[in-house]
């Protein structure tokens, strides 16, 4: 009997938090399918949409350049993640597999950079990019965030766990270092590389501060800046349902990505992620 009551309490508490988490998602979808007039006529908002409509989604894509924001974010995410992978893989490979003078010293220097908060260096980067006339360009958006010391560290550790004998076997067969990297090290470390990729994609998709500093031309806005722009200068009037439609559109890709790669993402975040 005692166990039963305890179970009821546990499930009740867990459900309360689940509702707190899910409610905003429910509300954004709900509001996004209410018409402008019906939303504004409900002093006490209704919990269901009596006459659902897609008009808000049409508005979101036509009244503001949401598609453009979307496209920009995809370009930004793909290019940043791609470049980051190249930089990170090459560095981790050099640290894990190649011998060179000053390796230990350089690696310690890299590690010490992990302690530097982004807020400290962003000021100069803002000035640098501005002086280089790279405001409102993709290069300006992308270049400062293509290196991550933490991911280099993570991948280097992973590379080093590959048995030394595999390398020797490859050497006996005349495999070049780079062929070994591409044919053996990268395939074996695939789980870590996937983790890094996912974390970086999430980071890119949600990035707000740097794009805000570096772009003021709407043609280069990412979704985060776009949604802020919509909020402040929006649809000419305070059109909450259309705004919610935009929010739904922006949230969907990552939620879908999460539901597909749930285990990989959660494992990856547990291993190496903090938000931001």
């Amino acid at each position: 009997m005692k166990n039963k009551t305890r179970n009821v309490i546990i499930y009740a508490l867990l459900s309360i938090w689940a509702i707190i988490v899910l409610f905003p998602f429910y509300w954004m979808i709900l509001t996004s399918i209410k018409s402008y007039s019906s939303y504004n006529s409900e002093y006490v908002p209704k919990f269901i949409a009596l006459s659902p409509t897609v008009e808000n989604y049409v508005t979101a894509f036509t009244a503001v350049p949401l598609a453009k924001y979307f496209f920009n974010t995809i370009v930004f995410t793909v290019v940043t993640t791609g470049m980051m992978l190249v930089v990170v893989v090459l560095s981790a490979f050099a640290f894990a597999r190649l011998d060179f003078k000053g390796k230990d010293l350089l690696f310690s220097l890299f590690l010490s950079l992990m302690m530097i908060p982004n807020e400290l260096v962003i000021i100069t980067n803002f000035v640098t990019i501005t002086n280089l006339n790279m405001r409102n360009t993709f290069s300006g958006l992308i270049l400062p965030s293509v290196t991550s010391v933490f991911y280099i560290y993570l991948l280097k550790e992973n590379f080093e766990q590959i048995p030394e004998n595999l390398y020797k076997a490859a050497k006996v067969d005349g495999t070049s270092d780079f062929r070994y990297l591409f044919r053996v090290m990268i395939p074996i470390s695939k789980p870590t590389i996937v983790t890094i990729t996912i974390l970086k994609v999430i980071e890119c998709w949600n990035s707000y501060v740097w794009p805000r500093l570096i772009t003021d031309d709407q043609n280069y806005f990412l979704v985060s800046n776009g949604i802020q722009e919509i909020r402040e200068n929006g649809f000419g009037r305070e059109n909450v349902p259309a705004m919610m439609a935009a929010v739904v559109v922006i949230s969907v890709p990552l939620v879908v990505l999460f539901l597909v790669f749930r285990d990989k993402i959660m494992e990856g975040v547990a291993r190496g992620g903090t938000k931001g």
């Binding site: 499930y11 954004m28 908060p117 293509v146 501060v209 949604i227 909450v240 929010v247 999460f258």
Partner: protein, 296 residues
């Protein structure tokens, strides 16, 4: 020495990017913070000294930002860690629906904070058409009508902390559930054989075993909360000074850019003050942990 060359070529991109965007800025920000009266347009300054620091520390907006940031830190870090611990403990005791709950709880991690912040704003904001769902609920239970977004400071701070906790929970729950899962079943069995009461098992076995992870969350929680910014923008808009809800990071960016921007020297001084605060708090945390955390 061909190997040497290959290695340096592989590291070249990383060294180049880190050099330009991390190492150089690190020194540069120090220089900026001591250059008095730096003019961004003409790139000239009239002196060196501590004036920038003194200006920032006397700026009422900075004082307000400092106050807001500290309130956010003090409220959200213990609360979110505590609730996350409670939820993780409950999660570890159930089998049915566990995966479902875990999936749901993780959702805020993958959402765009700016976008979902808008939903929170809608729920809490009072407009010409509606008092907002939350306010209506409060009134239903006999409370007053409150505008959480443009209303009194306490109400705004409440939404702020609530949203911050909502955002940081997924990470904490995830870390704590995996920490709990990694505690060896053997210890619990041994404790049950000894007829140990449940609360005692928690204090004497579970908590010490997961204490390194709890501590990790407290440290990263402090650091993260001190850097609060985009959640505030999501709720209160970009003009945080006007809303009285600015944070230290927000102050830095405002000094740098936007309507009140163009003062990289003030921004640098504020950023360094923030860094000093975070550094001090982390050091204190580390010292406390040496005495209280059990490392295997």
């Amino acid at each position: 020495m061909k190997k040497n060359l290959t290695a340096w070529l592989c590291l070249l991109p990383a060294i180049l990017f880190l050099g330009i965007f991390m190492v150089y800025p690190l020194f540069d920000v120090l220089v900026y913070s001591f250059e008095e009266g730096y003019n961004f347009a003409s790139q000239s300054f009239w002196g060196t000294g501590l004036y920038n620091y003194s200006y920032v520390l006397h700026d009422p907006f900075f004082i307000q930002a400092l106050k807001n940031t500290f309130i956010i830190v003090i409220i959200t870090v213990p609360l979110s860690t505590g609730i996350a611990l409670l939820i993780s403990l409950e999660l570890s005791q159930i089998k049915a629906l566990r995966d479902f709950f875990q999936t749901v709880y993780f959702l805020p991690y993958v959402t765009n904070t700016l976008a979902v912040g808008l939903v929170f704003m809608i729920l809490f904001k009072k407009t010409a058409y509606s008092d907002g769902l939350i306010s209506i609920l409060i009134q239903f239970f006999g409370g007053p009508s409150v505008d959480f977004i443009d209303g009194p400071y306490a109400a705004k701070m409440f939404v702020m902390c609530f949203y911050t906790i909502w955002i940081v929970m997924p990470f904490k729950i995830l870390i704590l559930t995996s920490a709990l899962a990694s505690v060896n079943e053997m210890y619990y069995k041994a404790a049950v054989v000894d007829d140990t009461p449940k609360w005692r098992i928690f204090y004497k076995i579970t908590l010490p075993m997961i204490s390194p992870m709890v501590f990790y969350l407290v440290i990263t929680g402090f650091i993260g909360a001190f850097k609060a910014y985009s959640d505030e923008v999501a709720l209160f808009g970009t003009d945080l000074n006007a809303a009285g809800m600015n944070t230290i990071v927000g102050y830095v960016y405002d000094m740098l850019y936007g309507n009140s921007g163009g003062y990289p020297s003030y921004a640098s001084a504020a950023a360094l003050i923030l860094f000093a605060i975070v550094f001090t708090i982390t050091t204190i945390n580390l010292m406390v942990s040496r005495k209280t955390v059990y490392y295997q």
